[in-house]
Every structure is written in C-alpha cells, then in structure tokens.
Amino acid sequence: MTTTELERPARPPVFHHLSTGRKARNHLATVLVSLAFLIALVPLVWLLATVVIKGWRALVSPDWFTHSLKGVLPDQFAGGIYHALYGSLAQALVCAVIAVPIGILAAIYLVEYGRGWLARLTTFMVDILSGVPSIVAALFIFALWISTFGLEQSAFAVSLALVLLMLPVVVRSCEEMLRLVPQELREASYALGIPKWKTIVRVVLPTALSGIVTGSMLALARVLGETAPVLVLVGYSQSINFNIFDGNMTSLPLFIYNQFTNPTAAGQLRIWGAALTLILLVMLFNLIATVISRFSAIKTK
C-alpha cells in the first residue's frame, strides 16, 4: 500500500503543512514570551545603570569604606559608610548565628524525625513565617522586647527581628538539601551499627553541607537588604558604634533612608553610593553562595 502511494505522481505533499493560523499563533506566542523576558530586563538594566552612574564616584572616594559620617555636615561630601557597613554586617551576622543553627535543627526535625500532626503544623508554620512581612516581625519584636520587657532599642533587637525573617529561608533550603541526600547513605550507616543521631551528624549533614551553606548565604543576602526592622528597632547614628546591645547603630538601608531626606548634592551622592555598596554586598554573598554550591557532594540532576 505504501509503495503504491509512493509510485503515484508526487501530488500529495510528503509532509502535512501547518495551517497558517496555527503557525501564526505559534509565532505570536514565541514573540510574546521573549518580549516578557525583555520587559523584565528593562527595569533591571535601568536600575543598575542608575545606581552605578550616580553612585560610583562615592565608592572611589578615599574615605568611603574607612570613615563614618562623624562631624560631617549634610552638604559636605566627606566621610563614608564605614559605620553603616559595620552595622549591616554585625546585625546580619548576629542574626545568622542565631537563625542558622535553629534552622538546620528544625530542618533535621522535619526531614529525619518529623511525622504526624506536629511535623505538618511545623511545615505549615514555616510557610506562614516565610510570608510574614518584615514590618510585622519588627513590630512583634518591638511589642515583646521593648514594650513588654522594657529594654532599649538596639541593634540586637534588629537582629532578633531578622532571625524571624531568615529562619524560614534557612529551614526551607536546608530541608531541600537534606531530602536530596540518598536514603542509601543513611541505610549504609545504620547497617554499620551507627546510631541515628550520629548518622545524621556525621554522614547526612556533611553530605548536604555545601547546599546548606549556600542556602544560609542566600538567606543572609536577603536579610542584609531588610529595612523595616531598622526603622522600628534601632536609632540612626552618624558615627560608629560597635556595641550591638546598646545605643544607635546605622546599617546601610538605614543610612540610605536617612540621607534620602538630605536634598544636597552630597546627600544624593551618598544615597546612591550606599545603594551601590549594598547591592554589591548582597551580590557578593550571592556569589559566594554560588561558588560554594559548586563543591556540592550531591549531584543534583
């Protein structure tokens, strides 16, 4: 039958051609999705270009990374973001020191132990916590720490609010990495007569380690840019303060928000310079996270 068809003069085309309508719709769809991507690039390029163009001169000024704004007049371009950089890093690191261990342990609970209603409730609450707005976390710490315990505003209060924002991110990523550790490795360890907790600590965690570190770095990057808690929980300062438990401490977002109301050229340069510094800092943490993930012991996909 095939042969007879082929022996006929080749009137009927070899391939069925698409109707024009289907072809047009296909092209239209391709154009639209590509366009969507290009649209997303517009604000990205626009924003980054603005920040770099308006801010780079601040970064190359000699005192930018080494001096605070102590004794600097609003319209005088001098000093730098040293105090804010310290504030940002200190608040984020204190937050990480609290949030990362709790987050890892909670993820271990969910993956290795959690069953039944408590585990389901915990998973649900991690979802809810990851959706809690930063201003609500800040208000909560205000209501607890300052209004109820009667303590002063401090950088530590900011760190506590950041913990609430960082915790779900750490739990999520850590949970994901732990679930990627093959069950066979746990079984191999159990079969050697190694107790469960040691199996987790010595076999499962090291296997997932790079992924966990990556996740924590990404969480840290997110926390660095948070502004709402610093508005509610700590005061602005022109100069450096090393004490996270006492006194005002400026972080980069607070610095930007404060200088935002300074209309002079010096103030403008400072805000864009600080914005550029903050973006670079966040990108640095993201970059470190990406590099670490290259060393993963688990091959994903």
Binding site: R25, V33, L44, L47, R115, T123, R172, L224, I279
Partner: protein, 342 residues
Amino acid sequence: MSMKDEVVSRPAGQERETGSMMGGMGEQEQERGERPKRVGDRVFRYLTTTSGLVIVVAIVLIGFFLLIKAVPSLLADSTNFLTDWRFDTTGGKLAFGIRDMLVVTVLSSLLALVLAMPISLGIALFLTQYAPRSLARGFGYLVDLLAAVPSVVFGLWGVLVLGPAIEPVQRALNAGLGWFPLFSDGNVSLAGGGNIFTAGVVLAVMLLPIITSVTREVFRQTPVNQIEGALALGATKWEMVRTTVLPFGKSGFIAASMLGLGRALGETIAVLMILHTATSPSGFSFFDGGSTFASKIASAASEFSEPLPTGAFIAAGLVLFLLTFVVNAIARSIAKPKKEKA
C-alpha cells in the same frame, strides 16, 4: 519553595511502628533484657524537635503579642476601626481606622500582581521552554539578579527615577480614562508620580523574580513523556506548551502569584519612599497617595513611645499579619493538592 517540601515524605523515623524498640538506646554495648537508653539519640531528637517548635511558637507569639498590645488601643478608639480613613493618634484622643490603608495596600498590591503575573508567566515559559539551552541559565541569573536588589534601592529608584519618568503616562491615562474610577483624579498631585500607580509598578518589578522562580521550577518538572507525546502528534511549540506545560504548572503558578501578593502586601520601605502623604480620603484611584499598612507603621516608628498610640499602629500591623497569613495559607492550599497526587 513550598512546591517541593512534600515531594519526598519518607522521613526515616522508625520508632512508631516498632513500639519501644527504637525509642531509647544504650550508648555502649547493650545489656540484654534491660530497657536500652541511647542518650545521644534522645538528646538530639529533643533538640531538633524543639527547634521545630520554635517556629510554631514564634507564629503563635507574634499573633498573641500583637493582639494584647492592640486591644487597649482598639478599646480606646473613638471611631470605627474598619471604616474610618483618619488615623489620629496624637492629642490624647485616639481616632484611627484602617479604611485608607486597606484601600492603598490592596490597590497597589493588586496592580502589581496584574502587571507581574503575565510577565512572570512569560519569563518562566521563556526560560524553561523557549530560550536556547546554552543561554537559559545565564538568562535565569539575570532575572534572579532582580531579587538581589534590596527594596530600599527599589524605593530610591522608584521615587527618584521611575516616578518622574512615567508621570506623562499617568497624565495621559488620567486624561483619557479619567471617567473610570481607578484612573480618576487622585488625592495627591500627579507631579513626580508619588502615587499608588508608581508604587504598583515598582512592586510589580519586585514580584517578577519571586513569581518567576517558583513558576520556573514547576514548569521544569513537566513530565518529559507528556511533552514528547504532544510534539510527536505534530503540535507546534505553543500547542505543546498549552496542552502540557500550562495545565501541569497552573496551580504552581497561581500559588507563586499568591506568595508574590503576600510579599507585595507587606512591602514597607519602597512604598514608604514612593507614596506622597494624602490629606483627604482615598477615592479608589491609582493616582491617590496615602499609606499602606506597612508604610504607615514604618513612618510612625520613630514616635513609638506612648502605649496607646503605639497600640494603634500595632493594631494595623495585626491586620496586615492576618491578611498575609490568609494569603499565604491560600497559596499553600493551592500548591499542595498537586504534590499529593504526584
């Protein structure tokens, strides 16, 4: 994010079914017949369970503390908390309501969602189905880069660069479509674009990477055999996408959008920097100014001293908390059924 957490629900706990056998154990060699106690296992188990509980307790405490701090102020409120647009907490007499904050929050978030959803969907499709393999990863990083921009920088850019730049667009919309309430004259001047419209556009840009990243993950998980099945029937790329990828990823996309909505509702600093303060009530226009819940609280934060006025803002925070709680819970319930069927 929440798409994945239950794909593998095979935690290695073995205690339940075997009764006491695994419950406790002896660190050293066992003494037969004696109930074994392995201290390390028990301690570790309590430690991890406690850490899990910290999260549950944190949520409960957030709700609890906001509530007890808000109640006295709510009782002292001399006006209707839900329907009054004023927010007076000074001068001894409290008169505060959330009408305008609710309107501004919802309008700006919905505008952001309406703008961000189709674009995110397009980006996710582009990155997973259309972009050349070798470039897709790099393109993905570009979109993720948007997520690395702190919101305070979005605020700066929104108020100093974007707002003035789209002011002509706003004027045109206002002039041409002013008969439609959403585009009618607002309660603040159009100059500089310090209104809900600008805030919504900036929020939309901030939502792009959030919605895209989750949606991308879901689309990527479309079973290959379904895709190949569609292509083998002679479907065009778009027909393949429409018949396999979109139905498969629909609930994930909607859930991602809800997560984005939750984020937009609570965004603080960018909105605070963009919106002009308004002196008259909102008329449900995109060209209104005013405050969202979050920006109102943040703007007043430096004056938190007296319990009653502070409580008024905490009451607003409580409403925001409940709002995001509901939105996130809905997002979760949309995302979940898919996982259980799989």
